[in-house]
């Protein structure tokens, strides 16, 4: 094919079209700043169930992208944070929340560390008290007293 002006024009138009296609794909991100802020805030609070130890914001798993898109759609409809979280919890369970709610199932998770701290503190207290009574009477023998005074000379 000769590089005639017409061919050049077609090639350039083709390139322009593909550029505009990219722009279309990126558009939803810019559509509404408030929605984006909400999506960002929520996606850092929600777990990616595929990778489990990443938030939806951090994850590149396909499901995380889909969920982000879903959250974006809900946010654009004007749903509150709580309504969106409730929607996802109804489908994926409490595990989808990075900060687990306090309920009977998670009570051990929430209270366990404090319980351990209390038990440890109590144990330490008891041990120190016992040690105090153990160390009170240890009088030196006459021989030891002489050794000490010799050393301190």
């Amino acid at each position: 094919m000769k590089l005639t002006p017409v061919v050049c024009l077609i090639v350039i138009l083709g390139l322009l079209q593909s550029v505009s296609l990219w722009a279309q794909e990126a558009q939803p991100l810019q559509a509404n700043a408030a929605v984006e802020v909400q999506v960002e805030r929520l996606s850092t609070q929600l777990r990616c169930l595929v990778c489990q130890n990443q938030t939806i914001a951090d994850s590149h798993a396909e499901l995380a992208q889909d969920l982000k898109q879903e959250i974006r759609a809900m946010a654009a409809k004007g749903m509150t944070d709580q309504a969106i979280i409730d929607y996802l919890v109804a489908r994926y369970g409490d595990f989808v929340r990075y900060k687990p709610p306090f309920n009977p199932v998670t009570s051990l998770l929430w209270l366990g560390p404090f319980g351990l701290l209390l038990a440890g503190g109590f144990g330490l207290f008891v041990m120190l008290r016992r040690r105090q009574t153990m160390t009170t009477d240890a009088p030196l023998s006459a021989d030891e007293a002489r050794q000490v005074s010799e050393l301190l000379k």
Partner: protein
């Protein structure tokens, strides 16, 4: 002697928990959907895109709803088991082809056999989100009233069929 007893007891408790932990699967997240009605949807069928499938059509029957994809490795292990189950005609199995392309899905069924009464196509995964799908394959046991009775995360194995799914389906069918 007595002093060492308490740390040893704590050690045993920790070992107990860790040992139990060895047999837990962190991927098995309990589904909040168990005991709830099946999320409704209308999706085109794989064999005929003009025909729509909706779970309402299955009311009055106990059925399995199996989410699969041709790109999914674990589905390959599961597929022959489903084919075998389907041959017995014990329970209808509806498939949902999740985030897949039609030609690849069709090729998969042509090669491995088709255990499904019909397959609905969830090309963009939106219905998957309604069902809380996060790892394919997943299989739901749905009762006559359209309630989700059980969710199998990961492939359906012979053990899962024998110990959980078949007894449950029998019980639900008798209701």
């Amino acid at each position: 002697m007595k002093r060492g007893l308490i740390p040893f007891a704590i050690f045993l408790v920790v070992v107990g928990f860790l040992f139990k932990g060895l047999f837990l699967d962190p991927r098995e997240v309990p589904s909040p959907l168990v005991g709830k009605p099946t999320p409704q949807f209308s999706l085109p069928r794989l064999d005929n895109p003009a025909t729509i499938f909706s779970p309402k059509e299955m009311l009055g029957k106990v059925w399995l709803f199996n989410v699969w994809a041709s790109w999914c490795g674990a589905c390959r292990d599961e597929h022959p088991i489903l084919v075998e189950l389907a041959k017995t005609g014990f329970v209808p199995v509806i498939g949902m082809d999740y985030k897949d392309t039609r030609p690849e899905a069709q090729q998969w069924l042509d090669q491995g056999g088709n255990p499904y009464n019909l397959v609905a196509v969830d090309a963009d995964g939106r219905v998957g989100i309604e069902y809380g799908v996060y790892g394919v394959p997943e299989t739901y046991v749905i009762d006559k009233a359209g309630m989700i009775a059980y969710k199998q995360i990961g492939p359906v194995t012979y053990d899962a069929l024998r110990d959980k799914i078949i007894p449950l389906v029998k019980r639900l069918q008798a209701q």
